[in-house]
């Protein structure tokens, strides 16, 4: 390593030699950087999983425009929308179709745990509004009191989920009715429930007798190929007299939902702060290591100054140390965080994963944080006065 750095820098790798001179202190410094990396990775992982989980249900459906109640900040929140607006929207020449989407939570009381399933009710005779995977299961959905279940639901054993097939369905009671699960799809636990379930709008009304088919939670619209969703949205806003409704493109609704989860909901804010705290912890640890190192070597630096070494030489040493700490601290941090995220994914079924983007972002962030720490630590170099050597 020493020879490699010497070749890279074209000089003795003094930063490396100083850091490794005290192995214990070096190991502690690397542990500190790795710890900060783990903090950031885990928080980012959770934030990333929140994004994945938030956007997941948008992938179950196919639509261009979504009409929601004014307080519908996410797909599962907010009041209902009168179905009459669906019919009015169909009056627009570029709106080719529409359907109501019903959303509620269904509890499945199981011997070990009661599962909370975010349940979507939609007209199965309109497969164009469903993703291709869902659309292939509409025949099942058309059965009375039938549902298809998220095979990755938290608390549902994998083998049990795998056993749910049309030939071997499973049933449970919901509000006095028997709901039969005939099939499964790939969802994944989110922050609002243990998993997802898809039923027909008719079955939904059976499960929730208090709900009215005239008041869905959202209205999904499709527009003619080539039509501009924003232009249609603008026309619909002018057309529909209820100005409190949120009429947005489907993509915008998903983006606003994600933004709401990350910046308005307590969980998103907490995880966001966690990332900032992790970065600050890393900066403080590296600054402490570098600044102590500079203080410990002031007389040596003063000697080098007396020998005629320029200021950039000393800055080079400090930044060399900062980069070594950043790179070597990142590696164990990455490995530990990958293991932690994998373990958390298994335990929670949240879509937690170490992605290349995240790894790259944290690595660059670590380099920047260590460089900032190094820049602050170099201020102590001024105290190295060669006149004090005599």
């Amino acid at each position: 390593m020493s020879r490699l750095l010497q070749w890279l820098f074209g000089r003795l790798p003094i930063g490396w030699l100083q850091l490794t001179h005290s192995r214990t202190r070096f190991a502690a410094a690397l542990s500190g950087v790795a710890f900060a990396n783990v903090l950031v990775f885990v928080q980012l992982g959770i934030m990333g999983s929140m994004a994945t989980a938030t956007l997941k249900p948008y992938g179950f459906f196919q639509a261009n425009i979504m009409i929601s109640a004014s307080d519908a900040n996410s797909m599962t929140e907010g009041g209902n929308v009168a179905r009459q607006w669906l019919f009015q929207a169909l009056a627009d020449p570029e709106v080719t179709g529409g359907t109501g989407l019903y959303v509620a939570n269904v509890s499945w009381a199981r011997p070990t745990k009661t599962l909370s399933l975010t349940t979507y009710g939609i007209d199965p005779t309109l497969p164009a509004f469903l993703s291709p995977v869902m659309a292939s299961k509409t025949e099942t959905l058309q059965l009375q009191n039938a549902g298809i279940l998220d095979m990755f639901s938290r608390g549902l054993p994998r083998e049990e989920a795998a056993a749910i097939r049309p030939q071997t369905p499973t049933s449970f009671e919901v509000s006095g009715s028997t709901l039969t699960l005939y099939d499964t799809f790939q969802g994944g636990g989110g922050f609002g429930g243990d998993g997802f379930m898809m039923v027909s709008d008719q079955t939904f009304m059976t499960l929730f007798p208090a709900r009215s088919s005239a008041a869905p939670d959202h209205i999904l619209l499709q527009i003619a190929p080539g039509a501009d969703p924003d232009a249609v949205v603008a026309r619909l806003r002018a057309l529909i007299s209820d100005k409190t409704l949120r009429i947005r493109s489907y993509a915008q609704a998903a983006a606003e939902d994600l933004s709401y989860q990350q910046t308005k909901r307590p969980t998103g804010i907490i995880f966001g702060f966690g990332v900032i705290i992790g970065i600050l912890v890393g900066i403080v640890i590296v600054y402490q290591v570098l600044s102590t190192d500079v203080a410990d070597h002031l007389s040596e630096y003063a000697t080098f100054k007396a020998m005629g070494y320029p200021q950039r030489f000393f800055l080079g040493i400090v930044f060399e140390e900062a980069l070594i700490l950043a790179i070597l601290g990142f590696i164990p941090g990455f490995i530990v965080a990958s293991g932690l995220l994998a373990g958390m994914k298994k335990a929670t079924t949240l879509p937690l994963a170490m992605t290349a983007d995240m790894a790259g972002m944290v690595f660059v962030g670590t380099l920047i944080a260590c460089t900032i720490s190094g820049a602050v630590a170099t201020r102590r170099l001024a105290a190295a006065d060669p006149a004090d050597l005599f």
């Binding site: 010497q6 000089r11 003795l12 003094i14 030699l17 100083q18 490794t20 001179h21 070597h297 007389s299 040596e300 003063a302 000697t303 080098f304 100054k305 007396a306 020998m307 005629g308 070494y309 320029p310 200021q311 060669p386 006149a387 050597l389 005599f390």
Partner: protein, 241 residues
């Protein structure tokens, strides 16, 4: 000043502190040092020897008067000039000031790398040679913590000499050495003066060195009170002009 006088000090005054605490340490000092000579600065503690050394070695800013070093005026010199001049000097400190994380060889290499002139292999050959000259051929890969006080000082001497400096400033360089090692070092400095024209200015109380000095300058309370050339019947016992 000519090439034969690498150091010329004229009407030099220096103070420490500010305001009421301001205290003058050097009073109107004039001194010219000849090329290749071994000049010893003597005097009691607080007489200004070290201050003179740091002023002539461009380690401290000149406040009043003039210090010409290697044909450059140090009063008002900027950082770049100071750094450039320091690269032409060799410093031997009383506390050796070796870098604790570097081996003896690496410490000596630091005396060469500052010049960025020769390739790495040549630098290493020169550093090994310098260490051999001070009798440390078998200690090149030792860290300072594993060297005795005398060995550390010899590494410091090798580091100061390896860059072939024009002027060497030394502060009690033999204090940590036994008499034999001390004499080897001083003879080496003397020989460098004769062969290469390297000028040495040294603060010391070692009487054996005084016998080898070309010139002995005695300071008291910031003033030169005696300036003599040992064994030189023509040397004066009055302050130098």
């Amino acid at each position: 000043m000519s090439e034969d006088t690498p150091i010329a000090v004229t009407s030099l005054n220096h103070w420490f502190g500010t305001g009421e605490a301001r205290k003058q340490a050097i009073y109107d000092v004039n001194l010219q040092v000849k090329r290749g000579s071994l000049t010893v600065l003597m005097g009691p503690s607080g007489s200004g020897k070290t201050t003179m050394l740091t002023l002539m070695g461009c380690l401290r800013d000149v406040q009043e008067g003039s210090v010409q070093l290697l044909d450059h005026e140090l009063k008002g010199a900027d950082r770049a000039l100071n750094e450039a001049l320091r690269r032409r000097l060799g410093f031997i400190f009383q506390a050796h000031n070796l870098h604790g994380s570097l081996t003896a060889l690496q410490n000596v290499l630091m005396g060469l790398q500052v010049h960025r002139l020769t390739d790495r292999q040549t630098q290493e050959v020169a550093a090994r040679h310098a260490l051999s000259l001070v009798g440390l051929a078998d200690r090149m890969d030792y860290l300072p913590a594993n060297l005795s006080g005398g060995q550390k000082q010899r590494v410091a001497v090798a580091r100061a000499l390896v860059g072939n400096p024009d002027v060497i400033f030394a502060d009690e360089p033999t204090a940590a050495l036994d008499s034999e090692s001390g004499m080897i070092v001083v003879k080496m400095l003397k020989k460098l003066g004769q062969l290469r024209g390297t000028t040495t200015v040294m603060v010391t109380h070692d009487n054996r060195i005084l016998e080898m000095a070309d010139r002995i300058v005695t300071l008291e309370d910031g003033r030169i009170v005696r300036d003599t050339a040992p064994y030189d019947p023509l040397s004066s016992a009055k302050p130098a002009s």
